[in-house]
Structures are given as C-alpha cells and as structure tokens.
C-alpha cells in the first residue's frame, strides 16, 4: 500500500509538466495582448513594445516557456503582469478560504446526502423516499446564484442573522457553503439511494437477515459500505470542481475565492496568474483522485493495490 502511494505521488510530477506545457500553450495562443491590455487605451506602439520587452513577450514562445519553467523549478511563480504582485501572494491569500469553503460544502453535502439517500432507499416508494427525492431534485434544479440571493434577502436583509458576504468570520461561510453544497448533496443522495437499493437486494443481505441481524447492523454495517463506491466517485469529482472555486457563488457572496481571480486574470491575459492557478487546480484534482482511488480499496477489500 505505502509503495503504491509513493509510486502514484511520483507519477504526478510528469503529469504536471505536461499540464504546464498545455496550459502555457493555450493561454498564449488565445488572441489578446497583455501588454496592450495593461498599457491602456492611450498607449502608443512604442510604449507597448517596451512593456512586451520587459515581460519577455517578444521572445519566441518556447523560450518564454523555458524562462517560466526555470522560475517554477526555483519555486518562483512569477508576478502578476497587471499589478506586479507576486503570484504566490495573490493565490495564497485566497487559497485557504477556498479550501475551507470547499470542505464545508462537501462535508454537509456528504452527511445530508447520504442520510437522505439511506432513508430513501430503505423506505423505497414510501413517503420518506418521495420527500427525500423531492429535496434532491430541488437541490439540483435550483440555480445556486438564485438560492444565494434568496438567502441573502431572507437571512441578512429581513432577519439580520448573517452577514451578506465576506469571509471575515465563520458566519460568512454558512450561506455560500449551502449554495455550493445543495446541488452536490442532491447528487450524492440520488447515487446513495440507487446504489443502496441494489445492494439491499443482494444475497449477503438476505443471509444477514435470516441470521437475525438487526436492520441497523445490516444497513450501516454491511450494505452502506459496499454501496458507497459510486458515491465516493461522484463526491471526489465534485470536490475537485469545488476547489477550483465558483465564480457565481463567490460573486454573490463577495467571497475571496480562486474563481474570480481566475476570471479576472484571463480577461487581462495575466499569464503568470492564470498558469499558476490552472497548475494548482490540476494538482488538487490529481490529489483528490488519488484519495478516491485509495478509498475504493478501503470500501471494497477486493480492490487491492498491492503489486
């Protein structure tokens, strides 16, 4: 097991190199000149040339890639073209709130999603099932910006319980995490339900019942664990997306996350910031995938990583 994990982690490095190359190529190939965009509309050709030179944008693209990689290997992500602020600083300050928000959204979505899924499965085609699935479908169908605005109107403007946005206190995390988690909770509930319904029909459950095990032990001790594989897969994917930040929710709740930074940087063709963010997202995604793979082994001992 340990060997496997180490192997996988080492495998991330070449993957990231490939990602960095693709990201670099794509962002440089989309039309738009950062020098022109930062110099402003009154700038002359001469001034723009000076900026291009300063930023190495007048060098061949491969040369630029090498300069960039050289910096990366020395742990230097460069600085924002626009503001000259180090990229590490721009990202660093937003990364923690983003991760915290993702964990919180994922956490409650998992707990409630699985609970609703279990209830719906064991009471299949009875009222808890209908109730659960109505909740789930609403969760998927409600657009998160709408949910956000409605919550602000209700809890901030009318009741005055929660701040309209920001991340300066833990209260600021409540509404955004609900808006972000609602859809995921719904998805998890549906996957848990259908998977658990299948499992409850299996032979080993019937055997368990005939041995007189309590329904509690059967559902939580045996059935749920082996039903969770599709749930973990979906949850892992969703978590990866969450870490990338959500422009919509960050905008509605004025939350200092990564999503808005990415959009702003793309609009300004702020190459170093975009590259660093995309690299980081790729890294997070790969890491989440690794954890998901390891969880498979834990949930179903038949899946083994010993070689």
């Amino acid at each position: 097991m340990g060997k496997y994990v180490i192997k996988r982690i080492i495998g991330i490095i070449p993957l990231l190199v490939v990602v960095s190359f693709i990201v670099f190529l794509f962002i440089h190939l989309i039309p738009g000149d950062p020098a022109r965009l930062i110099a402003g509309k009154e700038a002359t050709v001469k001034e723009i040339q000076a900026i291009r030179h300063e930023l190495h944008l007048d060098e061949p693209i491969f040369q630029q890639y090498l300069i960039y990689m050289d910096g990366l290997l020395h742990g230097d992500f460069g600085e924002s073209i626009k503001s000259h602020i180090p990229v590490m600083h721009l990202i660093g300050e937003r990364m923690l709130p983003s991760i915290e928000l993702s964990l919180l959204s994922m956490g409650w979505a998992l707990v409630f999603g699985i609970l609703i899924g279990v209830l719906s499965a064991v009471f299949k085609n009875r009222w808890p099932d209908y109730g659960g699935m109505v909740t789930a479908v609403s969760g998927i169908s409600l657009p998160n910006f709408w949910l956000g605005l409605v919550m602000i109107q209700l809890f901030s403007v009318q009741l005055g319980w929660l701040p309209t946005g920001g991340a300066d206190s833990w209260k600021g995390y409540i509404m955004p995490s609900i808006a972000l988690g609602a859809g995921i909770m719904a998805m998890i509930a549906r996957f848990t339900r259908s998977s658990l319904v299948q499992t409850l029909k299996e032979d080993f459950i019937r055997t368990g019942r005939s041995r007189g095990l309590s329904s509690m032990t059967i559902v939580f001790g045996h059935a749920l664990k082996s039903s969770l594989i599709p749930v973990v897969t979906v949850a892992g994917l969703q978590f990866g997306f969450l870490l990338g930040g959500s422009v919509v929710v960050e905008t509605v709740f004025s939350f200092p996350g990564m999503g808005r930074l990415l959009i702003d940087s793309i609009q300004l063709r702020d190459y170093p910031v975009v590259q660093a963010e995309l690299l980081l997202f790729s890294f997070e995604f790969i890491l989440v995938n690794l954890v998901v793979d390891l969880l498979y082994g834990f949930l179903n001992p038949k899946i083994s990583y010993e070689t």
Binding site: G40, E47, I85, V111, F112, L119, L149, P163, P256
Partner: protein
C-alpha cells in the same frame, strides 16, 4: 420486506439535528460579525470590483485609484469638479514658454513611516517612475519630461522637452511615495503603501477587503474625521444593495440603476448623482466605404433617438452627448445635439446614394449593457435601411481585432460601440488619442480613422499654448470641427450613481469615477 426501520429513521434524524445545532449553537457566543461590532467612527464602503494594486504610480483602474488617493497625495490634485488645486505643493509657476514648472512644497509634511516630505523625496519618486522604462503606468504621463532639479529643500523644478498643456493634470495623477519605503519594499510597494495622505494602510485581504485607519499626524489637522475605513469588494449588484440596506455598508458605488426607485423610499438612505467624464459613442470608420461619406455619418446621427437611448439603455440616468467630450472635462464647449429626425436621415441617405441602406457590422464587448446598447443602435439604424450585424467579443479578443492592424487599410472595424474617459480629466486626453491622425491604431484609439489637418494642427497648437484662455478657444474650435464632421454617433454622457446611509457625510464620487473619502464624517 417488513423490516423494522424505525431505528434507522431515528438515527438519521438525530444526526441531522446535531449537525444543525452545532451550526447554530456557536451563534451568540462570538457574534462579532461585521455589522454589530462596528465602531461609531468606522465606515464601510462597498465597491464592485477587486483592487488590483496599491502602487499609486502603477494603478490604472479607477477603483484602485480611489484607494491610493486616500493614502497618497500628489503635488497637485483634483477638487470635486476635476479642477486642479495645490496639495503637497503650496503653489506653482509655469514659465512663459511652457517648458519649466516650479513647485514650492508644503513644509512640515511627514510620510506615514516618519520620513520627511521634501524636494529630494519628490525627486526620488520621479526617478523611480522614469527608471521603470515604461512598466509603471505613471511613466506614460511623463513622456515629455526632460529633467527634474532640486532647487532647495522646498522647491523643485521640472523641465519639459516640449510644451504640454495638460502637464498639471498629469502631475495630479502622480502621488508621492515615501522614499524610505521605496527603498525598503522595492517592487512590492504595491502591497505596502506608505504615503502622506489622510489615511494609513492597515491590511489588504486579497479579493475581499482593504482596511485603512486615520493618519493622526496628517498635515491638515481638520482631517480625517473618521477612525477607520474598510473597502469591501462586492461584485454582485443585489448583494451590494443589501449591504446598504442592512447597514453593513455606509456607502456603495456603483449603485445599480434599477434599485434607485426602491431605495428612494427608504428614510435611512440617500442616492447621489454625479455627471461623469465618461462619454458613450459609436466610432465610425471614416476611411471605409460607405462611411467615408459625411452624409451617411450624419444620417446615422439623425436616425438615432437619444432620448430613447437614455431611457432604454441607461435606465433614464445620463444626458445626451452634445460635444466630443463630457461637460465635466476641461475646455468642454457645447455643440448641440443631432436631434432625432428620421425624414432628414432618410433624405441624407438618398443624397449619399444609399436610398435602400447597406449592411455593416457593429463591434463591442460582452458586457450586458454594451449588448443592450448595440441592439438599440441596430434597431434604430434599421429604420433607415442600415442592416447591422451585432458582434460582441470578449475584451482581449476585441482589443486584438482593433489594435493589430498596422495600417488604416488593414483595419476591419466599421462601427465600434464604446466609451471613453480621459484618465486625468484634461482636454488633451479627451482629444488627441481619439481624433489626431497620429493616433490611428495601433498608436492610439482613433478607431474612426478620423483625419482632419486643421484639427491635427490645432491639437499641436493647444499643447504649445500656456494661456488657458487661448487653450479654451482652440479646444472650442476643435470640438466644433470634429462635431460637424460626425466621426462618431454621439450617444450620451454617463451619470454616476452612488448611495449612502444618512448618517454618513462627505464621501463622494468624482466625475472620473473615483471615490473621495478625505472628508468622510459620521453624524
């Protein structure tokens, strides 16, 4: 299938309740949320974007300029109407030939880090800008600067390579940084602002907020009158308005037009309107057929109902553009409006040889109000047979399309729906980049490819003049010439809307869209 699932139901319910309770239980214990913990002398300002940098010599967006102007000051500055007044200089002199500017500096001024403001500090700042080789925004303002001399501790002298009438406006855009801080922080000065302004830097939370506190040693002891100012970045219109309603914000800018009605009825909130220097227009490529025909351009101007434009596109807030610049820009001279007259427009089209109109493209960015504006123009011009194709492009792509053609003949732009605001409120900034034949893209923003030899020589003449009355006369003639040539469809001047709680006084938005908080005061 009749198992006893009661226990499971109970378990689920209990877990759910515990989760919900832990979420609420923490509530009252540490309720130091933004609204309740606010001190009497603290104010919060909600704005719609993120700050990009706090380096006052490298800012280009008006929001970051608002923040840097609270902490920094220049030798001169703008008042509420964008006229120049001395700030860190007590007075200034311009030589007859317009080449030498001499400033007498204010005495007993200290930077926030204790460094003394004097002639050497001024020189250190200008050396920094000129040494940046164009990478600092402020260096664009100093294209004509030859050298700077320290005469004595409190006098500096600037010499220009050629006369430049808008130079004082440029000086107003160059705030002074503590020379000690320039040395200490170098490139990172954008994260550690140290100026002479009424407010000192406390903390900048990336993407979220900027916190400033009172400068107790400010040279004008009447200011500032509040202890702490927090700028919050709240991009969503609805959330910003909600903050004003709840009192989480004392001032919000911009205030969305559609909320004006509902807020007007509130007794705690007031709405302010400022006429801006932002003009909206469609530039017409005068180098291309059929737009090279003045009659066609005039017909397009007559065919467009400006009253409806302001009502529909600007939600009723704005005024008709009656010159090439806003009334708030230096040396503005009213020209009149091409009033809506469909018959006249049709007649002009006929005379120009296009009785049945023609097809063309109108370009613009993807912002929703730009789309609305382009569709409006499309609908209006259809009435004289001009079939417009609306082409909205993301701003980087659009800028590429506009600025990559090297010669006027390569240019593909026909009509461009766009806005302009001179960066330092001066007539040169509202004229040269837009109408001088030296400013054809990629050298400037003359996307009308407008060339008029008289205007070209008048622009040069105005820059050489040192007499404001003469300059006013020249710019009057320039505006008249351009307006009658109609290289644009002249649309409107934006009105800036901001809202504040009634217990706050003295915070206002300048015509260029920057916020001034120096006079902020709470009742």
């Amino acid at each position: 299938m009749t198992m006893n699932y009661k226990k499971i139901t109970w378990l689920c319910l209990i877990v759910a309740m515990i989760m919900a309770m832990t979420a609420c239980a923490k509530g009252p214990s540490d309720s130091e949320s933004a609204s309740s913990a606010k001190n009497d002398k603290d104010i919060t300002i909600a704005v719609n974007q993120n700050f990009t940098t706090l380096d006052p010599q490298n800012v280009s967006d008006t929001l970051s300029i608002s923040a840097t102007h609270a902490m920094y000051e220049g030798l001169v500055g703008f008042d509420k109407n964008m006229t120049i007044k001395p700030v860190l200089a007590t007075d200034y002199k311009v030589s007859k030939d317009g080449l030498v500017y001499t400033f007498n500096l204010r005495k007993n001024v200290k930077f926030h880090d204790g460094a003394t403001f004097d002639a050497n500090a001024v020189k250190a700042n200008f050396d920094r800008i000129q040494g940046s080789k164009g990478s600092l925004t402020a260096s664009h303002y100093l294209k004509n600067l030859k050298d700077i001399k320290v005469i004595d501790d409190n006098t500096v002298q600037f010499t220009l390579t050629k006369p430049f009438s808008a130079m004082l406006n440029k000086f107003a855009m160059i705030p002074m940084i503590s020379p000690k801080a320039i040395k200490k922080y170098g490139k990172n000065i954008g994260l550690h602002p140290v100026g002479t302004g009424p407010f000192e830097f406390v903390k900048w939370n990336q993407g979220e907020s900027l916190i400033l506190k009172k400068n107790p040693d400010y040279w004008d002891s009447n200011y500032p009158k509040v202890n702490k100012v927090t700028f919050k970045s709240v991009p969503e219109n609805g959330s910003r308005v909600a903050m004003l309603k709840t009192g989480e914000a004392d001032f919000v800018y911009p205030l969305p037009e559609q909320n004006v009605k509902s807020l007007k009825s509130s007794s705690d909130i007031s709405i302010d309107q400022t006429e801006s220097t932002i003009v909206r227009y469609v530039s017409i490529n005068t180098n291309k057929k059929p737009f090279n025909n003045k009659k066609v351009r005039l017909a397009m101007n007559y065919a467009l109902n400006k009253d409806t434009y302001i009502k529909v596109v600007k939600n009723g807030f704005g005024s008709k553009l009656d010159s090439t610049m806003s009334p708030k820009t230096q040396f503005y001279s009213k020209q009149g409006v091409y009033e809506y007259n469909l018959d006249k427009a049709k007649k002009l089209m006929k005379e120009a040889g296009y009785p049945n109109g023609f097809s063309a493209e109108i370009w613009g960015d993807t912002a929703s109000d730009t789309m609305k504006g382009m569709q409006f123009v499309q609908q209006q011009l259809a009435k004289i047979g001009i079939k417009l194709k609306v082409k909205a492009m993301e701003q980087g792509t659009l800028s590429n399309e506009i600025y990559s053609p090297k010669t006027p003949d390569q240019a593909k732009v026909q009509l461009w729906y766009v806005s302009w605001s001179p960066s330092s409120g001066d007539a040169d900034g509202a004229t040269r980049s837009l109408f001088s034949s030296e400013s054809f893209p990629p050298n400037g923003a003359n996307t009308a490819y407008y060339k008029n030899n008289e205007v070209d020589s008048l622009i040069k003449k105005a820059n050489k003049s040192t007499d404001p009355d003469e300059q006013a006369k020249i710019y009057k003639q320039i505006q008249k010439d351009i307006y009658s040539d109609a290289p644009w469809i002249f649309l409107g001047v934006d009105t800036i809307l901001s809202g504040h709680r009634n217990n706050l006084k003295g915070v206002y938005v300048l015509p260029d869209g920057s916020i001034n908080i120096k006079n902020a005061q709470l009742k």
